[in-house]
Amino acid sequence: MNYINSDLKVVGTRPVRPDGVDKVTGRAVFSADTRASGMLWGKILRSPHAHARIVSIDTSKAEALKGVYAVITSADFPNIASEEAFVGEGPMNFRDLSCNIMARGKVLYEGHALAAVAAVTPAVAEQALALIAVQYDVLPHVIDVDDAMKDGAPVLHDDMFTAGVNPKPTKASNIAKVVTFKKGDIDAGFAEAEVIFEDSYTTKPVHQAYIEPHACLANYNADGQVTIHASSQGHFMVRAYTAKLLGLDMANIRVNPAEIGGGFGGKTLIYLEPVAVALSRKAGKPVKMQMSREDVFRGSGPTSGASVTVKLGAKKDGTIVAAQQVLKFQAGAFAGSPIGPGCMCGFAMYDIPNVDVLGYDVVSNRPKVAAYRAPGAPISSFAVECAVDDLARKLGMDPLVLREKNAVVNGSKTHYGVSHTNIGFTQVLAATRAHPHWKAPLAEGHGRGLAVGFWFNIGGESSATVHINEDGTVMVATGSPDIGGSRASMGMMTAEVLGVPVSKVRTIVADTASIGFTFLTGGSRVTFATGMAVTQAAEKVVEQLKARAAQTWDIPVDAVEWQDGKAVPAGTNAGAFEPLDLAAIAAKQGRTGGPINAEVSVNAQGAGAGFGAHICDVAVDKETGKVEIVRYTAIQDVGKAIHPSYVEGQIQGGAVQGIGWALSEEYIYNDKGQMDNPGFLDYRCPVASDLPMIEAVLVEVPNPRHPFGARGVGEVPIVPPMAAISNAIKGAIGLRMPDLPMSPPKVRAAIDAAG
C-alpha cells in the first residue's frame, strides 16, 4: 500500500524517541558498558613504523607475565585467500581485511595491529604489550597520494598490478585501479566552449570521529559457540566478517547489537571482534576490548585525502558543454578508496553533453580508509562546486542561475549512464532561491557561498517483525542498529499503518539469532529499506486483524475494513457490528487462531537519490586567517520526513561534519610517516562555540518506491559544505582556497601572498 497522499496522523509528527530516557539518564548500554563473568581485557600492539617488514615477534616474555592468559599474532588466524566482499563503500577484499586487523609479514602504516594480549586488568595487558619483542626491517614509506603514484615510490604490495588498464601492467605499483567514465566527445565539447575554467584542488583525510571508540566483548565457549557484544553499524556484518576471518560457522556466532555511539560509515567494517574472539578462544575466558582515541585515529577510518583537477567549458549564455575531472584518491594501506562514487557524484547534478572523468585508487602508508558519509562525493563535489562558482564569475553570472541553467531534471542522463528518476533537484533549487537567506543583504566584509550536492542512497536487505501483545500493544523488531533515532521512525510507521498511538508501539533492535538477515545501517538506507519491511509487516498484521474480526462477526473477511485502529464492517450490507479495536482483537487472539504477528524480509530497490543545496555566510579575520561561519542554511529533498526532528538533525550534523572537513580537520604526518595529531585536542572537530544555528530546510518530493515517500537523508548534507565555505571565503576576500582544510595559517598565508 502507498500512504503518500494519505492523511497521516503519526508520520510527520515529533514524538519523543523510545530509547530517549535511557540515553539522557546514562542507562543506555553501549559496547564498552558490557561485562562478563571472569572477563579479561584485551589490548593490541601497534606498529610504530609506517612501513616495515616484520622479521620476528617474540611473545615469550609477555606470555610469562603473571595475569596474562593469551598472546596472539597473525599466526593465530587462518591465512585466507583473496576474496572480494561488499562492505560499506565498495568491494573489500577479505584477505586485506584479515591483514588489516592483524599484520602478516609487513606492517603498512603506523598503528597497524600486529599482536594482541588478554590479561586480568588493562594495566597488566599494557605491561604485556611492552614485553613483546618485535624485530622490524624498516622500509621507505610514502604518505602523499601524488608521491605514491610516482615512478620509484616505495611499493606497498608487490602483487598489486593496476586494474582497469589494458594491457595489464607488468610492474607492481601503488595504483590499485583506474576508473573512467565518458559521455559524448570531450574534445568536441571543449572546442565548442566559449569560456573555459580549470583548477586543481586537494583534500586531507578526515576521520569520522564518532565519539564512542570501537569496543566489543567476546566469548568463545569450549563447544565453539561464540557470543559477541559489539557496537557497529551492522551486527550481521560483524557476524559475517568474524566468521570469515576465523573460519567459523555463522550459526556458532551470535552478535548482540550494543547501542552505537556514532559511526558515519566508520563502523561498517570490523577491527577488534575477530581479535577478541581469537584471544577468548586461546584464553578460555571472555575478552573485552576497547580502542583508545589514539588507536581510533591511528588504526581505523578515516576517509580518503585526494588530489583533484577540474576543467569546465561553457557557452557565453552559461550552458556547460564540457566537463573533465581527474581524481586521485588515497585508499590507505589496502586497495579500495571510494573512487567509483567519487567519479560518479561530482557532475551528477548537471546535465552536460560531454564529460570525461578519470579516477585513481592509490595505496600509501596510511590506515585503510573506511566509508564516511556519502563516500567519495564530498571530495569530488568540493572540486566541482568550487570550479562551477569560478566559472560563474568568469561568465559574469549569478552562481545560482548558472546551477539552475545546467541542473539535471527527471530523465537527464548522467555521465555514468544512469538517467535520474524521481528526483527533487528542481524543487531544492527553487527553495534555495525563495529562501530569505539567499536574499538577505550581506554585511560588510562578509562573503556568501552556495554549493549543491548529490548522493545515490541505497536500499537492500532488511527484516522486520511486528507482534501484537495480548493487551493490544505492539512490538516491532528490526535488524538495523539505531544510530540516530530509527527506533522512533520504525515505530511511527508501524503506528500509522495500525492506526494506534505511537506510545502503544515499542521498537527494539534484535540480535543476529532473533531476526532475519539485515544489511548494515549505511548508505542512508534504514528509513527506506527497513521502513519498507516494517510497513509491510504491519500491513500483514492488519490483514490478520481483519480476518480475526471477520471470524468474530462470522462475516466474510472482505466485508471488514481497518479504520483508525479498528475493524469495522465495510458498509451496511456487511452487518451492524460495534467496531473492534486492536486491544479487543488481541484479547481473543488465542480463540481466533493464535498469536498475531508477521515477519517480512525485503531487498528494497529504488532508494531515490537525494539532492541538497547549502548557503553559507562567512566572516574572515584578516589578521589571523580565522574563518567564522556567520549563517548557514541547508536545503534538501528528503522525500518524506517520518520524524522531522531527526531528519533535521541528520542534515545539521552532516553539515557540521562538512564544516570541520572544510576548516579544521586533517591528519598531520611527520617525516617518519607517523600521525602527529591523534587526539581531539590537535585533531580539531567543530565545537559548539565554532558554530551558529544550522537551519535545515526540508523539501518533500515523495519517493514513489517507499510507502510513505521517504528517501535517504543522512549522507547528502556532508557533500556541499566544503565548496559552499570556499565559495563564501572567495566572496569575502576575493581569494580561492583550493586546499582543505582552510585553516587559519593557510588563509593567512593566502592573504599575505596576495599582498
Binding site: R14, V21, G26, I211, R293, G484, V687
Partner: protein, 160 residues
C-alpha cells in the same frame, strides 16, 4: 599493589571504594562502582563525555584520580534525575531531539547542569562557549543549544 580506600559521596549517597592510585575517577566509576553512564571518548579531557560534578564543579572524570574523590561530593549523570522525575534538562533534550547516538549526551547534560547552576540565564553565546568542551559529532549542536536554552527558561520558571 595495595589499593587505596576512598570515602566519598556519589549522587547523594555515602560511598566507599578501593582503587589503585593511578586509576582515574572515570575508570573507578565505570569499573569499580559500576556507574557506566559516564563515557570514555578520549581519556584526555578533550571530549567531555565523562563529565561529572565534584562539589558542584564541572570536571572531566578521566583527568581526575579516583583517590581525589576522598571527602568530596560527586554527581554523575545517574544522579541528575530525581527518582523517576527527569530533570528539566533531560526532558528538554528529549523534546528537542538533542541527541542522535546518545553517547555524548550524559556529558552534555552534566555540563549543562553545571552551566545553569552557575548562570541561570545564559546567552546563546555563553552556552556555546560553556559547552565547547563537550564534543558531539551527530547533531551539529543546533538542537543541543535549543534544548539548553529552553531548559534554562523552564528552570527560571518562564515557560513549561
Amino acid at each position: 599493589m595495595s589499593k587505596s580506600h576512598v570515602t566519598t559521596t556519589i549522587n547523594g549517597e555515602a560511598a566507599e571504594f578501593l582503587c589503585e592510585t593511578q586509576q582515574t575517577m572515570l575508570d573507578v566509576l565505570r569499573d569499580v562502582v559500576g556507574l557506566t553512564g559516564s563515557k570514555e571518548g578520549c581519556a584526555s579531557g578533550d571530549c567531555g563525555a565523562c563529565s561529572i560534578l565534584v562539589d558542584g564543579t564541572l570536571v572531566c572524570s578521566c583527568l581526575m584520580l579516583g583517590v581525589e574523590a576522598e571527602g568530596k561530593s560527586i554527581t554523575t549523570i545517574e544522579g541528575i534525575a530525581q527518582g523517576d522525575q527527569l530533570h528539566p534538562i533531560q526532558q528538554k533534550f528529549l523534546e528537542h531531539a538533542a541527541l542522535q547516538c546518545g553517547f555524548c549526551t550524559p556529558g552534555l547534560i552534566v555540563a549543562t547542569k553545571a552551566l545553569l547552576d552557575e548562570n541561570p540565564n545564559p546567552t546563546e553565546i555563553e552556552a556555546r562557549y560553556w559547552l565547547a568542551g563537550n564534543l558531539c559529532r551527530c547533531t551539529g549542536y543546533d538542537k543541543v543549544i535549543r534544548a539548553v536554552m529552553d531548559a534554562a527558561a523552564v528552570m527560571r520558571g518562564e515557560t513549561v
